[in-house]
C-alpha cells in the first residue's frame, strides 16, 4: 500500500508539490500567528509595562500622624512591607516625611518642613542650589515669594499646631527655590505643590500656609518634628516586569494593608498601602486581549482560506484520481482502505509541510517584527522555533492535510458532470448566516480580560458566509456576459464567456479565489479603518492638536511664556477638573469632568468628530459669552488701598485682586490686611502687575468692637490703580456681590470707578451693621462684569444618559471646587473633547471664571493650555518651559498605532494580506493547473476545427481572465461590504471597549486599487503561463483524449 502511495506521489509530483506548498503556506500563517500571539505579545506586554508612568506602578505606604520618636521605626517597617510587596520587581524604596504645620515667626501664617529622597525627581530648581548641609532648605518659589524670603535668608518656624505640639522652633537657611515638575508627585503634599495657600485649612486651623521647607533627613530628625504624613514609595524596575511578576505584586498588594497595620500598630493614626499597579496590570491585559482578538480574527480568516484551498486541492486530487479510485474499488479495495491510503498520504504531506513551515514561520515572524512600527515598539525579534510554534505548525499541518481526505469520503467525482445549478436554499442559508453573524457583532463590546469568542468568530463567519453567498452569483454574472456575446459572429469571446460561465467543479475554486481577494481587501480596509480610528481616538483623547497639562497653577509670566511659545497659533487656557452633579459623582475612578476653554475659539481648537453635521465652532458659539471682559489696565506704579471704617468702629480690609494677564489668564494677588483709617496703604504684593488688567476685587472687612449706637453705618474702600493713558471702565460697569449674604441682612454695597490723572480708583461703599465686623465680617466681590446667572454647557451623551436623559435646555446644579454652579444645557454632544466616553461637560472658561469669581472662588481656572494647529517646534518650546506634560494629537495617535500592545495588529493585517495574495495565486495555479489536460485536449480539437494557435490561446486566456477577473472583482465588492459591516467592529480601544468616537469604516481607494491591480497582475501571470503550457501541449495526440 505504501509503495502505491509513494509511486503515485512520484507520478503526480507536480500536483502534490502544489498541495505541499499550500499546506506549508497555511501552516506558516498559523505558525506566525501563534508567535504573534505568544512571544510577541509577551514581549509587547513587557515593553508596554516599561512605558507605564511611575505613578501607575509605584507602591506607596501612607502613614498619618507619626510621633517624632517613632519616625525611624515606622519608616523601616513601611519600607519592609513595600519592599516585600514589590520583591519580584526589585524596587528602589524612597520616603517622604512632612511635618505638622508650624506657626511662622509673626504667628499669622503656617509653614512646614519636609524631608524626601525624591525631591530632584519631582522638582525643578528655579534659583539657588539644592541643600547640601544640615540646616539648609529649599522652598517652592511661590512660598518664598509670599513669605518674602530670599536665597541665603534664614527663617524660623515656630511651634507646631495641634495637640501635643513640639514647641521648639526650627531655623533653616533657604539656599534655593524650586517648583514641582509633576503634578502627580505632589498629590500628597499639604499644598499639593502650590507652595502657598492663602486660605489653608486642615479642619482645625485656618490660616495662610506656605511650604514645604525641604531639608535633609538629618535636619528633619534633629527638628524632632511630629510627622503629619510619612510616605514610603517603592519604585519597581519595570524592565523585569512580566504578567507573572506583576500578578505576584498585585496579589501581594491585597494583604499589604493588613501587614502594614500589624507592623506599625498604634504608633500611627492611619496606615494604608496604595498602588495603581493592579489597575495598570488589568489595563495592560485588556489592551493585550483587544489586540489578541483582532489577531485571532485575522488568523481565523487565514485558516479559513487555507482550509478552503486544501479542500479544493483535495477535490482536484480526487478528480485526477477518479479513475484510479474506480479501478482500485473494482479490484476489491474497501472504502476504509481508501481512507487509510489517503490518511497515510496526508500524514506524509503534513510532515513535509511542517518541516518547511517551521523555519518559514520563524523567519516570517522575525521579518514582521522588524517592520518599522513593530521595531520602533521594541518588538523586533530574531527567528526562533519555540515549542508553541512547533505544536501549532504540526497540528495545523495535520489538520489542513486532513482536508485532503474529506473528498475521499464522498462519492467519486464525475469528470463530465454538468455545471451545478444555483441552489437557492443554500444561498439563502448563507445569507442568513452572514447577517446573523453581523447582527451578533452589533451587540456592545464589553471589556474583559479574556478573548470574547463570539466577537472573534462572528466576523469570520460573516465574511466567509457572505463570500460563499456572493460566489454563487458569479456563474450567473458570467452567464449574463456569455448571453451578451452569444450573437456575435466570432468565436473567441463567445466561446471564452460560455466556457467561463459553465465551468464544472467551480464551487471550491471560486470560493478560494474570492475569499482570498476578500481577505486581502478586508485586511487593507481594516488597517485603514483601525488607523483612522486611532487618529480619531487620539483627537478625542487630547481634545486638540497640542495640550499642555500644567503641574501647578500658572503665573501670568508663565502664561505669557506659553503664548510666546505658541507663536500666534490659536491658543486657550483650559480648565479640566472633576465636578459633581447633585448626588451623581460618576463611577469609581471616573468622576464627571468639567472641561472649559475659550469657546469662541472652539472651531480652531477642538478636534474630534461631532455628529449630525454639527461643528465645534457652532457648539462654541452656544457657550461663549456675549462680550469679553475689559478690566482696569495697570501701568507701572503702586496700587494703594484707602478706606474709612463705620463711625465708632475700627476696621481693616483684606484685599484680593483678580488680574488678567496679556494672555487672558486670570490670577489672584492677595494683599496684606490693611487698616481702614483714611490713609492710603500700598499693596506691596501687587507691585509687578503692569500690563495686566484688574477685573475683580474681593474685600474681606473685619473690625473690632464698635462703639456706634446705630445698626447701619457706611464703610468705604478705594483701590487706586496706576493707569496712566488708559481709559477706565465707566462706573456703571462695576458690579458688587456680597458673599455669604444671609436672609434679612441689611448689608448693601455698591462699587464705582473714577479716573483721575494717571490713576483709576475703584470705590466700594458698604452699608452694614458695625457689629457685623466683629462677628464674622463682611466679604464681597466687586467685578467689572455682571455675575453670570448660569454656566452654559455642552454635555456628553454618557452624562446625559447617566442623569436620566437630560436634554438641551435642561438645567442642573453642579459643584466645582466646592462652589455650587447653576448649569444650562445648550447641547448634548457624543463626547466631550479630552474626556472620551466619560461623563463630562464642556463650557467656556471665561464664563466659568466669572461665575466662580462672583461666588468668591478667585483662584485661576487655568489647568493647562490647548493650542490648535501649532507650528513646528511649538511642542519643543513648550517642553522647554517645563511647566508640565506636553501632549500632541499626532504623538498620541502614533502611540496608539505603534504602542507595543497595539503594533501587532499591523503585523497581523500585513500577514493576512500577504497570505491572502499567495493563497490567491496558489489557488489560481491549482485551478488552471488541474484543468490543464482537459484544456489542452479542447485546444487540440479547436485546432483540428481550424482555429489558429493564436485564436485558441486567446480563448483560453480570455476565459481564465474573465473568470478570475470577475472573482477578484466580486472579492473586492464583498471585501468592501465586509469592511463596512464588520471592519469597525474589529477595532477596539486600548480599554478593550468600542473606541470613542466609534470607528468608521475606511476604504482606501488608492491602496485597494493597487491591491486589485497587483492581484489581477499576479493572476494574469498565472493565466498567461498556464495558457502557454495548455496551447503548447495541445498536439494531435490529445485528439483521442476524453473530456476529463
Amino acid at each position: 500500500m505504501l509503495t502505491l502511495v509513494l509511486r503515485r506521489a512520484l507520478a503526480q509530483r507536480a500536483l502534490l508539490a502544489g498541495v505541499v506548498a499550500l499546506v506549508t503556506l497555511g501552516t506558516t500563517v498559523l505558525g506566525v500567528g501563534s508567535l504573534l500571539l505568544d512571544t510577541t505579545q509577551v514581549r509587547a506586554f513587557a515593553a508596554a509595562a516599561q512605558q507605564q508612568p511611575r505613578e501607575d506602578v509605584d507602591v506607596t505606604a501612607f502613614l498619618v500622624d507619626v510621633p517624632a520618636t517613632d519616625l525611624a521605626g515606622v519608616r523601616e517597617d513601611a519600607e519592609d512591607v513595600v519592599g516585600d510587596v514589590l520583591a519580584p520587581l526589585r524596587p528602589t524604596v524612597t520616603s517622604t516625611a512632612v511635618s505638622r504645620m508650624r506657626r511662622t515667626s509673626d504667628g499669622k501664617r503656617l509653614a512646614y518642613l519636609a524631608s524626601t529622597d525624591t525631591l530632584r525627581q519631582r522638582a525643578i530648581l528655579t534659583s539657588g542650589r539644592w541643600p547640601a548641609a544640615p540646616g539648609e532648605a529649599v522652598v517652592p518659589g511661590a512660598a518664598a515669594s509670599r513669605l518674602g524670603l530670599q536665597v541665603g535668608g534664614r527663617v524660623t518656624l515656630g511651634r507646631e499646631v495641634g495637640s501635643g505640639p513640639n514647641e521648639t522652633p526650627v531655623t533653616v537657611e533657604v539656599v534655593g527655590t524650586f517648583r514641582p515638575s509633576t503634578r502627580a508627585g505632589w498629590a500628597s503634599d499639604p499644598l499639593t505643590g502650590r507652595g502657598y495657600d492663602a486660605s489653608y485649612s486642615d479642619g482645625a486651623v485656618t490660616a495662610p500656609a506656605a511650604g514645604p521647607f525641604v531639608v535633609d533627613g538629618e535636619t528633619f530628625a534633629a527638628s524632632a518634628s511630629n510627622i503629619a504624613s510619612l510616605q514610603v514609595t517603592g519604585a519597581p524596575v519595570m524592565a523585569l516586569a512580566s504578567d507573572a511578576s506583576m500578578t505576584r505584586v498585585a496579589d501581594a498588594l491585597g494583604s499589604a494593608d493588613t501587614l502594614l497595620g500589624t507592623k506599625v500598630g498604634d504608633r500611627v493614626q492611619i496606615s494604608r498601602v496604595a498602588s495603581e499597579l493592579p489597575q495598570t496590570l488589568t489595563r495592560l491585559r485588556t489592551q493585550q486581549s483587544a489586540t489578541g482578538s483582532t489577531v485571532l480574527v485575522v488568523l481565523l480568516l487565514a485558516t479559513s482560506l487555507a482550509a478552503t484551498a486544501l479542500l479544493l486541492a483535495g477535490r482536484l486530487l480526487a478528480r485526477v484520481r477518479g479513475e484510479e479510485r474506480v479501478l482500485l474499488t473494482g479490484l476489491g479495495l474497501a472504502r476504509r482502505q481508501l481512507v487509510a491510503l489517503s490518511l497515510a498520504e496526508a500524514a506524509m504531506l503534513a510532515a513535509a509541510a511542517a518541516i518547511l513551515a517551521v523555519p518559514a514561520a520563524a523567519l516570517t515572524h522575525a521579518m514582521l517584527t522588524h517592520l518599522p512600527g513593530l521595531s520602533a515598539a521594541g518588538l523586533g525579534q530574531r527567528p526562533a522555533a519555540t515549542g508553541t510554534l512547533l505544536l501549532t505548525v504540526t497540528g495545523g499541518a495535520l489538520g489542513l492535510a486532513l482536508a485532503l481526505v474529506v473528498p475521499v469520503l464522498g462519492r467519486p467525482v464525475s469528470s463530465s458532470r454538468a455545471p451545478t445549478p444555483i441552489r437557492s436554499g443554500a444561498g439563502v442559508l448563507l445569507v442568513v448566516l452572514a447577517v446573523g453573524a453581523w447582527w451578533q457583532l452589533r451587540s456592545p463590546a464589553s471589556a474583559t480580560d479574556g478573548t470574547d469568542v463570539v466577537r472573534v468568530l462572528a466576523p469570520v463567519v460573516c465574511v466567509v458566509a457572505a463570500t460563499a453567498a456572493a460566489v454563487r452569483l458569479v456563474p450567473l454574472t458570467l452567464g449574463l456576459i456569455a448571453g451578451r456575446t452569444g450573437r456575435s459572429t466570432g468565436l473567441v469571446l463567445p466561446l471564452a464567456t460560455h466556457q467561463a460561465a459553465r465551468r464544472p467543479h467551480v464551487g471550491g475554486a471560486f470560493a478560494l479565489i474570492a475569499l482570498a481577494t476578500v481577505a486581502a481587501a478586508l485586511g487593507v480596509a481594516v488597517h485603514s479603518t483601525w488607523d483612522r480610528s486611532q487618529a480619531d481616538q487620539a483627537a478625542t483623547r487630547v481634545g486638540t492638536d497640542l495640550a499642555l497639562r500644567l503641574s501647578a497653577p500658572p503665573t501670568i509670566a508663565e502664561a505669557t511664556a506659553v503664548s510666546a511659545a505658541a507663536r500666534g497659533a490659536s491658543t486657550s487656557g483650559i480648565t479640566d477638573r472633576p465636578l459633581a452633579l447633585g448626588s451623581y459623582v460618576g463611577t469609581r475612578g471616573e468622576p464627571p469632568r468639567l472641561v472649559a476653554l475659550d469657546a469662541a475659539r472652539a472651531g480652531s481648537l477642538v478636534r474630534g468628530r461631532l455628529d449630525g453635521g454639527r461643528t465645534w465652532a457652532g457648539i462654541g458659539r452656544l457657550l461663549a459669552p456675549s462680550a469679553p471682559v475689559s478690566g482696569v489696565r495697570v501701568t507701572p506704579g503702586r496700587i494703594t488701598v484707602t478706606g474709612t471704617p463705620p463711625d465708632g468702629t475700627s476696621a481693616e480690609a483684606a484685599v484680593t485682586l483678580v488680574v488678567e494677564g496679556p494672555s487672558g489668564v486670570r490670577q489672584t494677588v492677595t494683599g496684606s490686611t490693611v487698616p481702614l483709617d483714611g490713609r492710603p496703604r500700598t499693596l506691596d504684593e501687587a507691585d509687578d502687575l503692569a500690563g495686566s488688567h484688574i477685573v475683580a476685587v474681593r474685600l474681606a472687612l473685619t473690625g473690632g468692637p464698635s462703639s456706634a449706637t446705630g445698626t447701619s453705618a457706611a464703610a468705604t474702600v478705594d483701590v487706586t490703580v496706576p493707569s496712566a493713558g488708559s481709559t477706565a471702565a465707566a462706573p456703571r460697569d462695576w458690579h458688587v456681590h456680597l458673599l455669604d449674604e444671609q436672609d434679612g441682612s441689611s448689608t448693601a454695597a455698591d462699587t464705582s470707578s473714577r479716573q483721575t490723572s494717571g490713576t483709576t480708583t475703584v470705590s466700594t461703599r458698604v452699608r452694614l451693621d458695625p457689629a457685623q465686623l466683629e462677628y464674622g465680617g463682611v466679604d464681597l466681590v466687586a467685578s467689572i462684569f455682571a455675575p453670570p446667572t448660569e454656566l452654559p454647557i455642552a454635555m456628553s451623551r454618557q452624562l446625559a444618559d447617566a442623569l436620566g436623559g437630560v436634554s438641551t435646555g435642561g438645567r442642573l446644579s453642579a459643584t466645582v471646587d466646592l462652589v455650587d454652579l447653576p448649569l444650562r444645557v445648550e447641547a448634548v454632544v457624543p463626547t466631550v473633547p479630552s474626556a472620551p466616553g466619560r461623563p463630562a461637560v464642556l463650557a467656556d472658561a471665561d464664563t466659568l471664571s466669572r461665575l466662580l469669581i462672583s461666588k468668591g472662588q478667585l483662584d485661576t481656572v487655568v489647568d493647562g493650555w490647548w493650542i490648535g494647529e501649532p507650528q513646528a517646534g511649538t511642542a519643543r518650546a513648550l517642553k522647554a518651559l517645563d511647566l508640565g506634560d506636553v501632549v500632541t494629537r499626532s504623538a498620541t495617535a502614533d502611540q496608539l498605532r505603534r504602542g507595543p500592545l497595539q503594533a501587532t495588529v499591523t503585523a497581523a493585517l500585513v500577514l493576512l494580506v500577504v497570505a491572502a495574495g499567495l493563497m490567491l495565486l496558489a489557488g489560481a495555479g491549482l485551478v488552471v493547473g488541474a484543468d490543464r489536460p482537459s484544456r489542452s485536449a479542447e485546444v487540440a480539437r479547436l485546432r483540428a476545427m481550424g482555429a489558429t494557435r493564436r485564436a485558441a490561446a486567446r480563448i483560453v486566456l480570455v476565459e481564465l481572465t474573465l473568470v478570475l477577473g470577475v472573482l477578484v472583482l466580486t472579492g473586492l465588492a464583498v471585501g468592501a461590504a465586509a469592511a463596512a459591516a464588520v471592519g469597525p467592529d474589529l477595532v477596539l480601544s486600548d480599554t478593550g471597549r468600542a473606541p470613542v468616537p466609534p470607528a468608521t469604516w475606511a476604504w482606501p481607494w488608492a491602496t485597494e486599487a493597487t491591491l486589485a491591480l497587483a492581484l489581477l497582475a499576479g493572476v494574469l501571470v498565472v493565466v498567461a503561463a498556464s495558457t502557454r503550457i495548455v496551447v503548447g501541449r495541445s498536439g494531435p495526440d490529445q485528439l483521442r483524449a476524453g473530456d476529463s
Binding site: 463530465s416 458532470r417 454538468a418 455545471p419 450573437r487 456575435s488 459572429t489 466570432g490 468565436l491 463567445p494 466561446l495 460560455h498 466556457q499 460561465a501 459553465r502 465551468r503 464544472p504 485536449a937 479542447e938 480539437r941 479547436l942 485546432r943 483540428a944 476545427m945 481550424g946 482555429a947 489558429t948 494557435r949 485564436a951 494531435p1036 485528439l1039 483521442r1040 483524449a1041 476524453g1042 473530456d1043
Partner: protein, 220 residues
C-alpha cells in the same frame, strides 16, 4: 481530390523508432468514401492527422485539389481545416460547456458566419442528425450515439470537401454504431463530401467505397 505520395512518419529514433507510415501513396476521388483499416497502432490516426495538416510528415506530400497541404504554414493549415477538411473523433471531441447547437456552430463561428445564417445551418444539421429536440442539451446530457451525431453534424457544418473520421464508432455499442455509420454514409452522399474513415468495424468497411489497409506503416 486527395493525392498522397511517398508519405512517411516516424516517431522516436534509433532502436525505439516507430514507423507509423512508410512511403504511403494513394488517391481518393471526390465524393468517395474510403475506409482505413489495420491493427491497433499509430498508423491510421497518423495518416488522418497528416491529411488535415494536424501533423507534418517526415517525407512525402499530401495534395488536396492540387494544393500541397504539406507545404502550408500553420495559419494556412488552420484555414484549410476551417474551410476544407473536417474531423470526427473517436471520443466525439465536443466542448462540454457548449450545448449541442453551440458545438455545431463552432466551425461556423470560425468562419465568422452571420448569426442568422449560423442558426439556420445549425438547425438544419440538427434535423439531419435527428437531434432537433436536443439542441440545447449539453454533451453530458446526451448519450454516446447522440454525442457522435452532434460531432458529425459539427464536422459538416462548414461544408467541408473532405471529412476525416477517426474510429467514429469506437466508443459506441454495436447498435448505435450501426446507426451512426448509416448516418455518416447518408450524409456523405447527400452533402457530396469525400470521406476518409479509420475503423475496425467490418460494417463500416462494407459501407465504404474502398478500403485502405495499413500494416507495419505501409498502405495497401
Amino acid at each position: 481530390m486527395v493525392a498522397v505520395r511517398g508519405l512517411s512518419r516516424t516517431y522516436g529514433s534509433g532502436d525505439r523508432a516507430v514507423h507509423a507510415l512508410r512511403d504511403a501513396s494513394f488517391d481518393v476521388a471526390p465524393g468517395e468514401m474510403v475506409a482505413v483499416v489495420g491493427r491497433s497502432g499509430p498508423g491510421k490516426t497518423t495518416l488522418l492527422n497528416l491529411l488535415g495538416g494536424l501533423d507534418r510528415p517526415d517525407t512525402g506530400t499530401v495534395r488536396l485539389d492540387g494544393a500541397e497541404v504539406t507545404a502550408l504554414d500553420d495559419d494556412a493549415l488552420s484555414a484549410l481545416r476551417r474551410d476544407s477538411v473536417s474531423y470526427v473523433f473517436q471520443t466525439f471531441g465536443l466542448i462540454p460547456s457548449l450545448t449541442a447547437a453551440e458545438n455545431i456552430g463552432v466551425p461556423l463561428r470560425l468562419r465568422r458566419t452571420a448569426a442568422a445564417d449560423r442558426d439556420r445551418r445549425v438547425a438544419l444539421l440538427l434535423d439531419l442528425v435527428g437531434l432537433g429536440p436536443h439542441a440545447d442539451q449539453h454533451p453530458a446530457e446526451l448519450s454516446g450515439g447522440q454525442q457522435q451525431r452532434v460531432a458529425i453534424a459539427r464536422a459538416l457544418a462548414a461544408s467541408p470537401r473532405v471529412l476525416v473520421a477517426d474510429e467514429p464508432t469506437g466508443q459506441l455499442d454495436a447498435e448505435t454504431g450501426v446507426a451512426v455509420m448509416a448516418l455518416l454514409r447518408g450524409l456523405v452522399e447527400s452533402e457530396g463530401v469525400t470521406a476518409i474513415v479509420s475503423t475496425h468495424d467490418p460494417l463500416m468497411v462494407a459501407l465504404a467505397d474502398r478500403t485502405l489497409t495499413i500494416a507495419d506503416g505501409r498502405v495497401s
